[in-house]
Symmetry: C2
Subunit: 331 residues, 2 copies
């Protein structure tokens, strides 16, 4: 083949969708963005997907015939092998949307489909934080806790497209923390940004006397002011420091469990909460060493993700690349 292989990765989010052309080494061109406008219905959504893909191809200065494969990543419940979004809470009123077939028919190019959290993990594994890893577990720390597991270049999708729901491992038997999913004791109920804020609000509710944390929480207009808890800790607020330490501990419990079950050579944290920087990562690492079996505790690399919000679309392109390689018989 004379020209280098190119792939398009599309990441469909609740608000916007983003696409980018990526070459065979993971080098990304300029990306394209369009509003998702899920409320306009799924036909409109499918058209937006194709439009975003075309926009990305144009942004890269290429034409459709330059593209070897397309990968689409979406959120919500899905049937990955059949390329269908089932009932996505962030894309209402979509239901049973045949994403992969639609995109495949529109472009006539091999089209891969993946869960957005899995795709983001695969992107980091391909050209981001996990580039040197053989197997990798990623935790994405946001409103909830998502994640992905890659083992020897394979995305752990699970038999019912429920693999790597790392936020919903149960880490506590008590009924102290209820998860957004309705269950008790999920990792997400203890360590998501939502949980950090909730625990902070509980902590300041019972405080008398001055409190940096309470003042910062009151002054902020952020919808999910987890950042403010980390700020208060940085400013020496003892309550906030304890909240941050607890969060690091809960995340280390999640990491320990993955180290004892999957035993990857790398654990990666992504998402908004990683803005807390290296001190927070070091606290997580400290607790991991305390909790896990000695050999994985010593040898597993623990780090932050590198691709930021681009991980999903780059990972979607990686899925396209893997599909094309598989179709051409490349191992």
């Amino acid at each position: 083949m004379s020209s280098p292989l190119l792939y398009v990765g599309l990441d469909v989010g609740g608000t916007t969708m983003k696409a980018v052309v990526v070459d065979d080494h993971g080098k990304a061109a300029r990306s394209a963005t369009m509003p998702t406008e899920a409320f306009k219905g799924q036909e409109h959504g499918l058209n937006q997907m194709c439009a975003t893909i075309r926009k990305a191809i144009a942004a890269a200065g290429k034409t459709e015939k330059d593209i070897a494969g397309i990968g689409v990543a979406t959120p919500g419940t899905m049937d990955i092998p059949n390329g269908i979004v089932l009932d996505p809470p962030n894309l209402k009123p979509w239901q049973n949307v045949p994403v992969r077939d639609h995109v495949h028919k529109a472009f006539g190019i091999p089209t891969a489909f993946q869960n957005d959290a899995n795709a983001a993990a695969f992107g980091e594994y391909w050209v981001g934080a996990g580039k040197v890893a053989k197997s990798m577990v990623m935790f994405t720390l946001g409103t909830g806790i998502g994640g992905g597991v890659i083992i020897n270049n394979l995305v752990l999708e699970g038999q019912h497209s429920h693999g790597a729901e790392v936020g919903h491992m149960k880490i506590d038997l008590g009924k102290n923390r209820r998860c957004g999913c309705g269950r008790w004791g999920c990792l997400e109920a203890f360590a998501s940004a939502t949980s950090v804020v909730k625990r902070a609000q509980e902590a300041v509710a019972n405080l008398t006397g001055p409190s940096i944390l309470r003042d910062l929480l009151k002054a902020t207009d952020e919808e999910l002011p987890a950042k403010v808890v980390f700020q208060a800790a940085d400013q020496g607020d003892e309550v906030a420091k304890k909240l941050v330490l607890d969060t690091a501990y809960y995340l280390a419990v999640g990491a320990m469990n993955m180290m004892h079950l999957i035993d990857p050579d790398m654990i990666v944290y992504a998402g908004g909460m990683t803005a807390a920087g290296d001190p927070f990562l070091n606290q997580i690492k400290h607790y991991i060493k305390e909790l896990a079996f000695p050999v994985p505790a010593e040898k597993t690399i623990v780090r932050y993700a590198k691709l930021g919000n681009d991980a999903g679309m780059i990972g979607a392109a990686a899925c396209a690349r893997q599909l094309v390689m598989k179709m051409s018989g490349t191992p």
Copy 2:
């Protein structure tokens, strides 16, 4: 090839080692047993391994040249890729024993090496309870809780030979139950036979009045009388019934976590505690349906293992078969 391929599987235990010749369809010949006698040192142990393998070949009416591959499964900490038993607590004073290389040199036949719990899971996956599964998680319920994870015909060894340590996932943040491994809140600390007995002893210690459970516990001379707790429950003892139900619940938490992380199409329970029979399995299933996400809760098959104590050696043979197939380029 004119004659059918045959493999030897050897399962090394703390007390005895067992080997058997298995054909390409998993059909096992008569097995051979020898004492492990770890106390006599590792040289002796390695010789016993070779002797047991020879005995199994003779028991099958075959000669060494009929055998295409050998698989050896051992307990304890190990380096699976290098075929070394490191520091096995049940095989003292063995240390850094090059099991695979020794057996390979002794017979000059392709030799595979695997953790015994992983091998048992692979045996069940090949020709036992998991024969119809694409991916399978096994929990072996004994003194501790071991396990194995098989995904699309691959044993999840982990990058540091610590994969599938399912007994050591942390399911509770409190300091209520300490595990044999020294950690708090491991699944094993709540649901192993050892834990059942411990919880039973705690429960009867505070009882006044008549108690079937206390009477049975006193009358038994079993070293680990978990069976007696299930018997007392069968006889209507309310305290024992609660203990059994709690155990089923803890096991369901472990299953739920694996369903949310690995999402296999089958969960298999093996080991001594499965003697409790179908009522206990149904209790576990009941709680799994209550705990897990709806789709895996509905679709994941949950059942008992079928191969009993033969799973390890048959699984070791399965590892040998996989190695031979890989060497011959069979996918």
